[in-house]
């Protein structure tokens, strides 16, 4: 099943919506504005009736896999169920209809929600303050690095390097580079954990920070984290925590206690705000006291029983986005935290770790497990054992799609060849995990018996494997003026 584009369905005689008239005696833009300021050609938007539009989007919706219908074990992405109460809370007119430039005394409920969310996040990760402004995890990382940079500069130190483990998510080195740092890679040891020897060899007075996630992207807890913190701090550098894997240990331990100075969190992972097909997310950053003066403006402060937005922060790194962050996502995360409580969040992490270990156990023997368990909330397997049959991680992923599962993250982390990274999350039952393991078993058998059919997977989806190489080639042709078809957008055939 495929669906025509709205542009292709457009028809000239379709009626647009009925809209109000101005009802005032006043000239229009054509009467007042000089011709050169006016638009010459109307934009080529589609013309469709409401029923046609609703059917169009319903058909598109049916072409998506999602948490609401499928198990979605996308490693590192923490695709857990999005409680519907969160959506109801965020849709309250008392939140949706607030203008960001309303006076503070008229938005005490909103500021109170932000204040309480900040307190709750401080408690979960063990820091002193949190900014809720960053719009996404990568945005939070960059915000944290800018604060660390400002901290060092305030002490007259020009530290120019940031250390990033080789297993890190690509946003880590990108965020560091965009803050003006030189990125230095730290190698993982054979057990998949950061190599203390390699770390020590790369530390110097030039290093501003080490970026680390714990458990790391292999799902392994960095056992020597306290030693790591000690040697990093001894050189005057700071320790930054990538919160991608926070779901592994809420209520069990805290990055702040491990020695991390700055911590970003993904509300769309750990705190169940929906991923939205790729955003909007929210990437708050928590910091210890040393970094508090550098937080983005404004912060929410309590003064004389009222909450205020504080814009007067002379050492602040400034503003990282407009207004106060993705407020609607903050409402959802707050609702989740209130419903779960300290006990519920702890149980969520325990269940996430249990589910991951159980699934790892069920899959072990079918796929390679490059690292010793136990794992935390996710594990990385490798499809290398299927290589003799010509089967790759990609084929396993497509085989899973065919069996009505979304695929795990593949080819990440980069340190594991043919990586298959599985994060089941706490919201999946044993029955679902068993069904997933059974699907892997079937795929492994298929790899043995008829690898060619697995190469052709997935069958029965709206489309089969798409030729991405041809797409890139066609875009090149367009960019070099050899073709009229932009590929990156629909264009009416000449």
């Amino acid at each position: 099943m495929t669906e025509l584009l709205s542009f292709e369905k457009s028809r000239q005689n379709a009626h647009g919506p009925r809209l109000p008239e101005a009802d005032v005696e006043s000239p229009g833009p054509d009467d007042v504005l000089p011709r050169e300021l006016l638009r010459a050609q109307p934009p080529g938007l589609p013309r469709l009736s409401e029923p046609e539009i609703m059917r169009h989007y319903s058909r598109l919706a049916s072409m998506n896999y999602s948490i609401s219908e499928q198990f979605y074990p996308l490693g590192s992405c923490t695709m857990k169920y999005n409680p519907v109460a969160n959506e109801a809370a965020a849709a309250l007119p008392g939140f949706t209809d607030l203008h960001p430039y309303q006076d503070e005394e008229t938005v005490q409920g909103a500021l109170s929600l932000m204040w309480r969310l900040e307190q709750a996040l401080c408690a979960v990760v063990g820091v002193d303050r949190v900014t809720l402004q960053p719009a996404a995890g990568a945005h939070g990382e960059w915000t944290a690095l800018r604060m660390i940079q400002a901290f060092h500069r305030s002490r007259g130190e020009a530290r120019t390097e940031v250390l990033v483990p080789d297993s890190a998510h690509g946003t880590n080195p990108a965020s560091a580079a965009l803050s003006g740092f030189r990125v230095v890679e730290v190698r993982s040891g054979p057990d998949g954990r950061i190599s203390l020897a390699d770390l020590e060899s790369k530390l110097s007075p030039r290093v501003a920070a080490l970026m680390l996630t714990n458990p790391n992207t292999l799902g392994l807890f960095e056992r020597e984290i306290l030693d790591v913190a000690e040697i990093v701090h001894a050189t005057g550098a700071m320790l930054y925590y990538d919160g991608a894997n926070l779901n592994a240990f809420m209520g069990i331990c805290r990055p702040g206690d491990m020695g991390f100075d700055a911590v970003h969190m993904n509300l769309h992972k750990t705190f169940t705000t929906p991923h939205g097909g790729g955003g909007p997310g929210a990437g708050p950053v928590g910091v210890k006291a040393d970094l508090v003066p550098f937080l983005p403006t404004p912060t929410v402060e309590r003064m004389n029983g009222q909450l205020k937005l504080d814009f007067k922060r002379p050492k602040s790194i400034g503003r990282v986005r407009s207004f106060y962050g993705n407020f609607g996502m903050l409402v959802r995360a707050y609702t989740y935290i209130v419903a779960m409580g300290g006990d519920g969040l702890t149980q969520a992490s325990l269940d996430a770790v249990l589910g991951a270990n159980y699934l790892r156990h069920e899959v072990e023997g079918l796929l390679e497990m490059p690292h010793e368990g136990p794992c935390m909330h996710e594990f990385v397997a490798s499809a290398r054992n299927l290589a003799p049959r010509g089967i790759k991680a990609l084929d396993v992923a497509k085989g899973l799609l065919e069996r009505d599962f979304y695929a795990p993250t593949i080819y990440f982390p980069l340190v594991v060849p043919e990586a298959i990274m599985v994060e089941p999350t706490e919201t999946e039952s044993k029955a679902t995990l068993d069904a997933f393991a059974a699907a892997i078993k079937e795929i492994v058998r298929q790899a043995d018996e008829s690898p060619e059919t697995l190469h052709e997977a997935p069958h029965g989806l709206p489309v089969g494997r798409l030729d991405e190489v041809a797409t890139a080639r066609h875009i090149n042709a367009y960019l070099q003026g050899q073709s009229e078809d932009p590929i990156l957008r629909w264009k009416k055939a000449p």
Partner: protein, 416 residues
């Protein structure tokens, strides 16, 4: 499950965590039922003062507009909101096609060749556009002309500082300028000479970046018509509620030869072996997960669901519908400006300048005016003196299709 693993307790699975780090409990209250949770959240919502749509005249980058019911009907489908970045295209065609349509809609609206899959907001879209210009020209200076949204300017500065880029406002561009950034209409609502600014930038070898209001593009010349290289802006008016500032959606579109500099996701059309058309993430070699520290942006995902809302809005309204609301807003704002300027002591702050649906007006005692309006349940204009010292006593009033003619009467009567 523990039994299957051959362990007796969860502690056996948590052995890698040093004992000294283990918490006894989180310092948070215990969990609540949905009933109690919602009661608590609703009590917070109730502590906010909501001004009626029709009596909201405050803009400054976020506007109350009519949102067709179709928008929420689509974005509340869990198949859209509970999916993730479409890494597996076969199982994500709904999101991919919707975003491909968004890219096309934004390209059409801005009159430029290609748009990306969306940005976080207008501020980061403008900042990323400036970074594109810096990389493209190899120059280290951005010149901001006129009244760019002050928060966009702050974000642009924050983005620039780490990379050693200078942002200047209030000076002429020169041969070291990577880009000239202007807003059309500007933060105060005034129209600028976009074509002239663009031509001047080009004469110096700089790029022209237009920060644009998407609804205005139904009426005024789009960046593509006057030759700007990059258009960036905030899409909140395309079907998204104010929500105390977010989540909204940024957009960015550019000329063909800048496509490889675009940050964020790009969706392209593709075919499978049976010849069926589908859509895929493409040109990913630009992005952080491939280029790592050599990437030009760290943006990973975008604001997909908000982009979907904007797509539904633009498709629902069509070019005629968008023009209609833009015209209604224009006429009402001009009618209101005339009546307000006739009040004793009130005068247009820039009487010689043209505007669309938002305008600056100088008033006696701005804070008293706003208090008086609030007593009548009216959210009055925005006091812009907070950002611009030279604009003491200046309020900007915004009108849209939601401010009916009677609402304008109520506003003027409240001030009489």
């Amino acid at each position: 499950m523990l039994a299957a693993l051959g362990v007796s307790s969860m502690d056996d699975l948590l052995i890698d965590i040093p004992r000294s780090l283990r918490l006894s409990a989180l310092e948070l209250p215990a969990g609540l039922s949905e009933l109690e949770t919602m009661a608590q959240v609703k009590s917070l919502a109730a502590r906010n003062r909501v001004f009626a749509d029709r009596l909201t005249f405050r803009g400054g980058g976020v506007y109350r507009r009519f949102i067709p019911a179709a928008v929420a009907a689509v974005t509340s489908k869990p198949e859209f909101y509970s999916a993730y970045t479409p890494y597996q295209p076969e199982a994500s065609q709904g999101t991919l096609q919707a975003i491909y349509e968004f890219q096309t809609l934004i390209a059409e609206l801005t009159g430029l060749d290609v748009a990306n899959a969306s940005m976080y907001d207008g501020a980061t879209a403008v900042a990323e556009a400036a970074m594109m210009a810096h990389i493209h020209t190899g120059r280290n200076e951005i010149v901001v002309v006129g009244y760019l949204h002050p928060e966009y300017l702050e974000v642009l500065r924050a983005f620039s500082e780490g990379r050693g880029i200078k942002v200047r406002r209030g000076t002429e561009p020169n041969s070291k300028t990577a880009a000239v950034v202007f807003q059309q209409p500007d933060f105060l609502g005034l129209l600028v000479d976009a074509a002239g600014l663009t031509a001047n930038a080009h004469s110096l070898g700089a790029l022209a970046i237009a920060c644009v209001d998407p609804i205005s593009l139904a009426i005024v010349a789009p960046p593509g018509e006057y030759g700007a290289d990059i258009a960036a802006g905030e899409g909140q008016q395309l079907g998204l509620s104010p929500s105390y500032g977010g989540p909204h959606v940024g957009f960015i579109a550019c000329r063909k030869d800048l496509v490889r500099r675009l940050p964020g996701r790009l969706i392209g059309s593709a075919h499978d072996s049976a010849g069926r058309r589908g859509f895929v993430l493409t040109l990913t070699a630009r992005e952080q997960h491939i280029r790592r520290e050599r990437a030009s942006s760290n943006i990973c995902t975008n604001h997909s669901l908000c982009a979907l809302a904007a797509s539904v809005y633009m498709t629902y309204m069509g070019a005629d519908g968008m023009r209609q609301v833009a015209e209604v807003s224009f006429k009402r704002a001009h009618a209101l400006a005339e009546r307000l300027a006739a009040l004793p002591g009130w005068e247009m702050a820039f009487p010689e300048r043209q505007f669309l649906n938002e305008f600056p007006i100088r008033v006696p005692k701005a804070s008293a005016v706003l208090r008086k309006l609030a007593r009548k349940s009216i959210l009055g204009g925005l006091d812009v003196h907070r950002w611009f010292r030279e604009l003491k006593g200046v309020l900007t009033f915004a009108c849209t299709e939601v401010n009916d003619a009677r609402a304008l009467d109520e506003l003027v009567e409240a001030l009489a």
